[in-house]
Structure formats: structure tokens, C-alpha cells
């Protein structure tokens, strides 16, 4: 690939598109600046990933309320049967998941109840790394890139651009997004994703812009890399702020962090940003003590934000383009601990939302009897998370993943 000789926006604007290699580093909307942004259901399909960080207690989310091991193992953290939103004689949703129930009834929710991987790792950071890298070795020199980063590389190669994967709600770039060419774009809040050093002073903003339009003294390879990154950063932050700021949602979003992040994603989708994979995080699931109250709040935030997002997409006519799924690094033990909480377990449920999927339970609930006999008992998985990734990439984004996820069985949850 040839090196991009352009290092300033001015040069870019005056010399135009006739340069080889431009697409490798320039944000796409700069390249197609004259093209109308595609929107509506015809544009390419998009995946939204919600990380439930800390280890969500699946047994309190999708509750096997009539199971003896659950009833006996959970004295304090058990959800009273009368409160549970029952799905059948065995399973029910946590009482706060009313929106999940509505989406399930509408055929917009598919549930993968027992997802995990062989030889469980019970450490947050190791297990999270395994999910991010989609490799049982975790993040290590042999596995330097995350599953989303590698998917973007596979799908776009030399045409890959940072804007293809966007993480909302986190300044620290998630390891999953890191690919061989770039690490996507990450920001905490769309409306504050910008250069703030000029403190709102117009003259200083102008100075900043002009300095970035001027060439560097002695552009070596590293300086070129930095200048191009600066160009991409300034251009993408401008565009993201503009689109998110102009967005008029068609439903009211709750005032929570997750809802704010999903609202921003809806805005970017509606505005026609070329992003194919969005990523966001809801933290706080590490409920070792006094789980009930905290977990109720977390599921309320999750339910209300996802429900609003899904309804908004429907009203905007974007729902057919978007598949959303949740994951957590592990679920929690079958038996609760001594501090009214639960400790690190293994297999857990993933929830997939969208209009074009096969709704309902798309797998068996993991056994509460045949479990890993560690600590207070960890659920064994019956579905590998890498197969879920592979299916979503292949069937939804049309990106083959054998080269980095290996041969995986298809999971039957997409229409």
C-alpha cells in the first residue's frame, strides 16, 4: 500500500481524490464529502454490541424459578416467584425486564441462554480479554488484535478506516476494536468528543484549525502517521458531534448513561455514518455483596435503554438494518455467597435484539446440576461465544471469520 503523501486537510481539499491510499487513513465522509449520506433500511447492516461489564448474574436475569438448585442455592438473592415475568413453567424474566418481554412477544428478541467457552477463567480481566480477543489465550503477543478489529480488517482490508468501528461511552478504546491498521474510534460522549483545549474561544479554535492545516517541519514516517491520525481525529469528531447533536429521536430515552450512549448510536446511524459495528459498555455487574438492589437497578437501566433504542430504530425505519446483542465476561455462581451476593461463575445468557431474527429461546438453558464444582458451582456452557460472533459476522455483516475464529457451527438465531 502506498503511503499517503497528504498530511493536511488543505492539501487534501486542493489535491483531491486522485491519490492512491487515501482511503486507508482518511475518514470516509471526507472522501465522499460530495455524496449524500445513505440512510434508511437500504444502507448496509450494522451490529451493536453491549458489554455488561463485571459478570451479569444470568440466574437473576433469565430465572429458572422452579429449579430446585436455584431455590436452594439462592436464599437472599432469589427473586420472589410472584414478581417474576413468567415465560413458561420453568423460566421467567427478572421483574424489571418488561421491555424484554414486549420485544420477545413482538418477535424482536432471541435468547442464547448458555454461552461460554471451554476451560473457564474466573478472573474478570482474563475472561474479558478472552471475549474481546475471541481467543482462549486472551490478550497476548500471539493475539494482538480483538475480534472486531480483525473482522473489520477481514471485511475491508486496505479500505479499512477507523470510523468502521465506534465505541461510545468509553474513552479507553476497548481491546475488541483493535485491529492491525487502527483501533476504531472511541469517545465518552458524542457531544464532548472534540478538541477542548481552546476553551470555547473562537480565535483559538481558528488557530488550532490553521495549525493542523499546515505541514510539519520534517515529515518522517512517524510524523506522517501522527499528522494523518490528527486529520482523521479532527474530521471524525466534527462529524460525530454534528450528527449526534442534530439528532431528533422519535422516542424519549431515559436519563441513564447506557440510554445516552444508545441514543448517540441511533443518531449516528440515522445521520448515515459509515460505521458497521458500534460498541458500548454498561458497567457495575460485579455484585459480590448486597446484589438484589444493585442488580435491580442495572437491569432497569438495561431494559429501559434497549427498549427505547429498539423502538426509536423502528420509528426511524432503521430497525431492519440493526442487530444488537449483549454479553458479559461470565455469569455468576449457582449458590450465593455469605454477603448477600454472588461470586464469579461461567456460562451466561446473551440477548439479541432486532427485527430480522428468529425470536425466542435459541438454545437450551444450562444445567444447574451438571456444573463446574468450583467455589459455589459455575454453569457449563452449551454454546461457544465464538460461534455467536461468527454467525453474526457471516450472516449479518457478510464477513467470513474462519481465518480468525476458526470453523464455528452456525447458531440459528438470525432470520
Amino acid at each position: 500500500m502506498s503511503q499517503l503523501p497528504i498530511t493536511t486537510r488543505r492539501e487534501f481539499l486542493t489535491r483531491g481524490l486522485g491519490l492512491v491510499g487515501v482511503s486507508a487513513v482518511l475518514p470516509d465522509f471526507l472522501i465522499r464529502s460530495s455524496l449524500a449520506a445513505p440512510s434508511g433500511n437500504r444502507a448496509p447492516q450494522v451490529l451493536v454490541v453491549i458489554e455488561q461489564s463485571g459478570g451479569n448474574d444470568t440466574l437473576s436475569t433469565l430465572i429458572p424459578y422452579s429449579n430446585k438448585a436455584y431455590v436452594e442455592g439462592r436464599k437472599v438473592t432469589r427473586i420472589p416467584e410472584s414478581d417474576i415475568i413468567k415465560l413458561d413453567a420453568e423460566l421467567g424474566f427478572h421483574p424489571r425486564l418488561k421491555g424484554f418481554k414486549e420485544l420477545l412477544d413482538e418477535g424482536r428478541l432471541a435468547i442464547l441462554p448458555g454461552v461460554g467457552y471451554p476451560q473457564p477463567n474466573y478472573s474478570h480481566f482474563s475472561s474479558m480479554d478472552i471475549w474481546h480477543m475471541a481467543d482462549l489465550r486472551g490478550r497476548c503477543p500471539a493475539v494482538p488484535h480483538g475480534w472486531i478489529g480483525r473482522a473489520v480488517e477481514k471485511g475491508f482490508g486496505e479500505k479499512s478506516r477507523p470510523i468502521l468501528s465506534v465505541a461510545v461511552g468509553t474513552e479507553k478504546s476497548p481491546p475488541a476494536l483493535k485491529g492491525p491498521r487502527h483501533a476504531g474510534i472511541s469517545f465518552k460522549q458524542a457531544d464532548t468528543f472534540q478538541y477542548t483545549g481552546n476553551q470555547g474561544d473562537a480565535a483559538r479554535a481558528e488557530l488550532y484549525k490553521r495549525l493542523h492545516d499546515q505541514p510539519s517541519a520534517r515529515p518522517g514516517e512517524t510524523m506522517d502517521f501522527l499528522a494523518r491520525t490528527a486529520l482523521a481525529a479532527n474530521a471524525s469528531s466534527e462529524e460525530i458531534r454534528r450528527l449526534a447533536g442534530a439528532y431528533q429521536p422519535k422516542v424519549e430515552y431515559p436519563k441513564t448513561k447506557l440510554a445516552r450512549n444508545l441514543r448517540a448510536i441511533a443518531g449516528l446511524l440515522h445521520g448515515g455514518l459509515d460505521t458497521r459495528i458500534y460498541y458500548t459498555v454498561q458497567g457495575g455487574y460485579d455484585t459480590h455483596s448486597d446484589q438484589r438492589k444493585r442488580h435491580d437497578e442495572l437491569l432497569t437501566e438495561l431494559n429501559d435503554a434497549v427498549f427505547a433504542f429498539q423502538k426509536d430504530l423502528q420509528k426511524q425505519g432503521l430497525d431492519e438494518r440493526v442487530l444488537t446483542f449483549t454479553f458479559s465476561e461470565f455469569s455468576r455462581n449457582v449458590k450465593e455467597n455469605g454477603s448477600r451476593g454472588t461470586d464469579h461463575g461461567h456460562a451466561g445468557a446473551m440477548f439479541c435484539f432486532g427485527t430480522k431474527l428468529k425470536p425466542g429461546m435459541r438454545g437450551a438453558y444450562p444445567s444447574l446440576e451438571d456444573i463446574y464444582q468450583v467455589r459455589n458451582g459455575a454453569l457449563k456452557h452449551n454454546m461457544d461465544f465464538r460461534a455467536v460472533y461468527a454467525t453474526a459476522l457471516k450472516k449479518w455483516l457478510n464477513i467470513p471469520s474462519e481465518s480468525f475464529l476458526g470453523e464455528q457451527p452456525g447458531i440459528d438465531f438470525l432470520a
Binding site: H124, E171, S173, F193, G197, S236, S339
Partner: protein, 639 residues
């Protein structure tokens, strides 16, 4: 405010010539052994040449064989004579340094005494310059002799030393500093500046350093409590250790920013990345603190001692699962990484069998959970014979470390990694070979090799000064030191470096931080701009100018750019800044307009730190506009 003064170089030059002669005549007074060694070497050379000729002249057969035998002997003798001469030369050159230091101290004392009389002062200043130049030459000779005798890298000529190189040294062997600190190193001369940084034990240790507490042990009465109560107490201990982890990160960042021993902290950071261990594995902050103190204590000491320390380090034992490595049920994690990542380098000079045997040698290397100290479980140690690198014996962990040090790939791997950290990514094989020969020759003492590296031409080559992207810690600590920021909230610095991808005590994996371009992407670059801009939002820049009379906006921009950036600014960018700054009021009005001027100067510095250029720690050759004599920092900052 004082006037800017030009430094007079022609004066110092002529003095230097005179003084160089003086020093060499003094050295001659006790140069008997040196002369003798030189004579012996010359004789050995002649003998060798004669023997060579004899071989050429001899006919095939017995004569030829005996001539060749004689030549081999003469070659050996010559080598020995050369080594003896270099040893004498080094000894004599080293000895000449002390009198030169004494002469400088004396001249400086005289200068201090002459403070009152302008005439005497001028003469005394000339004496100081003379003495400094003489010391610089003595140090240069000693460094050259030492590099030759130890087989290290070729030192840079003292005359090549300039402000940019001093800034490069201070940033790479430390975390950077304000213009006056760079100027001081510049004034010292290359060799004295390197000694100043490398011999950091001569500087005081920073006060107020952190003292950690284990907080692991349970009290005897706890066994009578119920499960819920025990869990509650355990939770409080976990919380304590996590809080301590936070306090340690803050304290270390502050230490890096305030220490007078920057190289010691830079090396501590290097070893933390090299022997990467994360708090997240065992959540034992006390063990992490002990490890950090090990790195600091041994930072530039003996690598063998450091490696041995790591094999006994509780945090490492926990991180790489050696607490589960027992006779009969092994865990080879530590055994593998100790060869692969910590000493020899992946696939360099060991077999898969060696890895397994290394792990067996480490069986029973454990730690006591309740006090966080190393513990050897003799009954769980595998006492049978092991074969490592072709040698067989009942090896334990200490033997393993000794055997590793005997492998040539160890010195090469360590020097290459240090070279990459301090200089650049593409060292020539020959460079690494020279450095590692020096390390081996000095039985793995790191200091002579580091000193030689920081003196070397290679360290100041364009490659070295051209391509280093600052790590988040270098970025933030560099800004604090360069701009002399006080009232820094190290909680904020900690969360800043975390968000930029480098949280101390939590490297991503056993290979440490990836570094280089991996630090920067579109999002993190904006974040870098924003975080440094926020950090300097209260810097008092007017104070910088109080010693000078800079009213010309171009001179002010040049001054600030040269202080803040390690790379030159392009002329168009410079012009934009000059235009923005505009005419500054005359200096007598600055006091009244302090806030307004500060805001304008801060806008300039903020713009400078919000540039791709600021992400680089280097100093490529400087364009002419920065070489104007009115930018002599030494003169600007003299109080």
C-alpha cells in the same frame, strides 16, 4: 530584567587549547606504567610484523609450520600487550578526571567570591569556562578509553554536544525538564551530563515516598465468626488492597514528576514493562509494591541480581502461577516466560525441553499469603536431575538464573530491549553485539553499559532522535516537568494515563505495553491534546519570561516552542503562532497586565501541546531560525 547576553565561544576555545596541554603535562608526571605499556605494545607489534614476514618468506614444510607457530604466539602476545596498554590508558585517563574536577570547583569558588567586582568577575568567569572545558576533555578521553577497553559503542565527540542533544538525553534518560535544566546539562558537557544522570545515587532520594502495608492476615478470633461476618471482613481487606493500589499509582506518578533521580524512575518503569506483572491477577498491592521497590533498588545494578529477585518475587510468582508449580503437578508459566520474555528472547537458544526443565527447577518457589513474603516449599520441590542448556544437575531456581546468565542470547536480548526503550527500534546487530559484550564483560552490571549508551554517537543519531512516540506516562509526566507545574492532582494524572492506555501496575499482559504507534489512534490523540491542555491550564508562563526581555512575539514563540517541543516547528506553523500572539506590551507593563499576558502565552503553549509534534520525544536537526544567538537559554535563565 536582565539583558540577553551572547555566549562567547571563541574565548573558551582558545582557553581549552591551553588547558588541554596543562592536563596532559600533569598526567605525564606519573605516566611511567603507561609509557612502559606503550613501549611493550610497540615492541609486540614489531615482533608480530616480523613473524608475519617470516611466515611469508618460509618455504613449505617444517620451516613454514614453525614460523606459523611463532606467529600465533606473537599474535597472542600482541593482543595481550594491546589489552595491557588500553588498561593503562583507561587508568591514566580516569586519573586525570579528578584534578580537572578539582580545578573546576576551585574556579567556581573564585567566581562566587568575585561576585561583587565586575572586572574580577569577568576574569573568574573565563577561568570557570576554561576549567569546564578542560574537565570536558578529560572526561571525553576517559570515556573513549573506557569504550575501547570494554568494547562498547563509540562516544560522541564532546564538540558535537548541543542544546538539542541535552534535551534528548534529559527526555529519554528521564522525563524531560524545563529549559534551565536542559541548559544546565548542556553547560556541563556531554560526559558530565551523562554522569549526572547515570550516577543518580549521588542525588537525594525524594521524600514522602509510599510505604505499603500487607493487610492479608486474618485474626484468630475470626474463625468463630459466621460466614457472612467473615466475608465482610475479607471484603474490607480486599477494599483496603484496592485502595492501596490506587494510592501507589498516584505516589509513583508523583515520584516520577518530582524525583531528582529521573533515570532511576525511568528504569523502574522499564523493568515494570519488562517483567510485566499486573495487580489484577492477585489483587495484592503489597506484593506489587515490593516488586516495584525491587526494580527501583536494582534499576541500574546487576541484571543477574534482578533476574534472581524476580524468580523469588511473590507478585511474579502469583501472576505467572508458580504458586501452583509443584513436583509432580507442574505449571510451566513462570519457567516459560523467564526464558522467553525475561532473559533470552523467544526461540533464542533454548529448546522446549529447556522450558519444561526450567519450570521443574522452579517447583516449590512460592510465597506466604499471610505476610506476602517468598517461601520455598522444599517438600514440593522436584529434587531429581534436570538437563538445562546441555548441563545436567539437581538444579534449583538460583542455578536456573546462573545458567541463563551464561547463555549469550541473554545479554543480547536485554541490551536490545534497553536500546529500543532508550534509543530507537532498529539497532544494527553490531551495536547490540558491542553493548552486550560490555554487559557480559562487566558480569551483567548495567551501569557501565547504560553510561556508554548515553554517551554514544548512536544514541544521538538521527534515527534515535526521530521516532519515539511518548507513552502516556511520558506525555503527562513530561508536561509536568517541562512546565514546572505544581499543585498537580495525581488522581487526575492517574485517570488520564489510564484512559490513554497505560495504568501503572496493570500492564495488559506478561509482554508489557506494546508501545510505539499502538499508543495513538484518532480518539486517543484528541484525548492526549485535551488532557495535556487541561493540565497546563493554570501554568504561570509570565514567570518564565521574567528573567529575560522578550517583547518580540517571534522570539517568544521560538522560546516556548523550543522549551515545549522536542521537534522543530515548521515555518508556516510558527508564523500562525506569531500572528496569534501579536505584539506584547513593554516589560514594565507586564506586572499590571499579568493575567492577560499569561492567557496569551498559555494559548500558545496549549496550541503547541495540541500538535502531532508534541507526541514525539526527539530532536531532529534544527532549522536556522531556532539557532539565532538571542535564544541562548543559559543566558536567559541565569538568576
Amino acid at each position: 530584567m536582565k539583558k540577553l547576553t551572547l555566549r562567547t565561544t571563541c574565548l573558551t576555545l582558545s582557553c581549552a587549547l591551553a588547558l588541554g596541554l596543562a592536563v596532559s603535562s600533569r598526567a605525564q608526571s606519573d605516566s611511567g606504567p603507561l609509557d612502559a605499556a606503550k613501549a611493550a605494545m610497540e615492541k609486540a607489534r614489531k615482533d608480530h610484523a616480523a613473524a608475519q614476514k617470516a611466515v611469508a618468506d618460509a618455504n613449505a614444510g617444517a620451516d613454514k609450520e614453525s614460523a606459523e607457530r611463532a606467529l600465533r604466539e606473537k599474535s597472542k602476545a600482541l593482543q595481550k600487550a594491546e589489552e595491557a596498554f588500553r588498561a593503562q590508558e583507561t587508568f591514566a585517563a580516569d586519573k586525570a578526571v579528578e584534578p580537572a574536577k578539582g580545578a573546576l570547583a576551585k574556579a567556581e569558588k573564585a567566581l562566587a567570591a568575585a561576585e561583587q567586582s565586575p572586572e574580577k568577575k569577568k576574569a573568574a568567569e573565563a577561568e570557570v569556562a576554561k576549567a569546564r572545558e578542560a574537565l570536558s576533555r578529560a572526561l571525553e578521553r576517559a570515556a573513549q578509553a573506557k569504550a575501547a577497553v570494554l568494547g562498547g559503542l563509540k562516544p560522541l565527540a564532546a564538540s558535537e554536544w548541543d542544546y538539542e542533544k541535552a534535551r534528548h538525553l534529559l527526555f529519554r534518560a528521564g522525563f524531560g525538564g524545563p529549559p534551565e535544566e536542559v541548559a544546565r546539562l548542556h553547560q556541563m558537557g556531554l560526559f558530565a551530563a551523562v554522569d549526572y544522570l547515570v550516577d543518580y545515587h549521588l542525588q537525594p532520594e525524594p521524600g514522602g515516598w509510599f510505604d505499603a502495608f500487607p493487610h492479608l492476615r486474618t485474626a484468630p478470633y475470626e474463625k468463630h465468626l459466621n460466614a457472612s461476618q467473615q466475608a465482610e471482613l475479607n471484603q474490607s481487606r480486599v477494599t483496603f488492597r484496592q485502595n492501596q493500589h490506587h494510592r501507589m499509582r498516584r505516589a509513583w506518578l508523583q515520584r516520577m514528576a518530582e524525583t531528582q533521580r529521573p533515570l532511576q524512575e525511568k528504569l523502574t518503569l522499564f523493568w515494570h514493562g519488562h517483567f510485566a506483572t499486573s495487580f489484577l491477577a492477585g489483587e495484592d498491592s503489597y506484593a506489587m509494591w515490593q516488586q516495584n521497590e525491587l526494580f527501583r533498588r536494582r534499576a541500574s545494578g546487576n541484571f543477574g541480581a534482578l533476574l534472581n529477585g524476580i524468580a523469588h518475587d511473590p507478585a511474579m510468582i502469583r501472576y505467572l502461577d508458580n504458586h501452583e508449580n509443584f513436583k509432580g503437578s507442574g505449571n510451566e508459566n513462570l519457567g516459560r516466560e523467564i526464558l522467553e520474555l525475561f532473559s533470552m528472547g523467544e526461540g533464542k537458544g533454548y529448546t522446549e525441553k529447556d522450558l519444561a526443565e526450567a519450570a521443574r527447577a522452579l517447583t516449590g518457589y512460592n510465597f506466604e499469603y499471610h505476610n506476602g513474603q517468598f517461601k520455598f516449599l522444599a517438600s514440593r520441590h522436584d529434587n531429581s536431575e534436570k538437563t538445562l542448556f546441555g548441563k545436567t544437575g539437581n538444579f534449583g531456581g538460583d542455578d536456573l538464573v546462573d545458567l541463563i546468565l551464561q547463555q549469550p542470547s541473554t545479554s543480547r536480548y536485554i541490551t536490545a530491549k534497553l536500546f529500543r526503550f532508550f534509543a530507537h527500534d532498529e539497532p544494527a546487530d553490531e551495536t547490540i553485539e558491542k553493548m552486550s559484550a560490555m554487559l557480559r564483560g562487566m558480569q551483567y552490571e548495567l551501569k557501565p553499559m547504560l553510561r556508554n549508551l548515553f554517551q554514544s554517537e548512536e544514541f544521538y543519531s538521527e534515527k534515535s532522535m526521530g521516532n519515539h512516540i511518548k507513552s502516556p506516562v511520558e506525555l503527562m509526566i513530561g508536561a509536568i516537568r517541562t512546565l514546572k507545574l505544581n499543585k498537580v492532582d495525581y488522581n487526575t494524572i492517574d485517570s488520564d494515563t489510564t484512559n490513554l492506555g497505560q495504568r501503572l501496575f496493570e500492564p495488559p499482559n506478561v509482554a508489557g505495553w506494546e508501545g510505539g504507534r499502538a499508543w495513538v489512534d484518532a480518539s486517543s490523540l484528541l484525548l492526549r491534546y485535551n488532557l495535556v491542555s487541561k493540565l497546563i491550564a493554570s501554568a504561570d508562563l509570565v514567570a518564565w519570561f521574567e528573567q529575560s526581555e522578550i517583547a518580540d512575539p517571534a522570539a517568544a514563540v521560538d522560546y516556548l516552542a523550543r522549551a515545549v517541543l522536542c521537534v522543530p516547528l515548521s515555518e508556516p506553523k510558527r508564523q500562525e503562532l506569531v500572528k496569534y500572539l501579536g505584539q506584547l506590551p513593554p516589560s514594565d507593563q507586564w506586572a499590571a497586565k499579568r493575567n492577560e499576558i499569561n492567557a496569551r502565552l498559555r494559548a500558545i503553549v496549549t496550541a503547541l501541546v495540541s500538535l502531532p509534534e508534541y507526541q514525539l520525544a526527539n530532536a531532529v536537526p534544527v532549522p536556522p531560525h531556532l539557532l539565532q544567538p538571542d535564544l541562548e537559554f543559559a543566558a536567559l535563565t541565569v538568576r
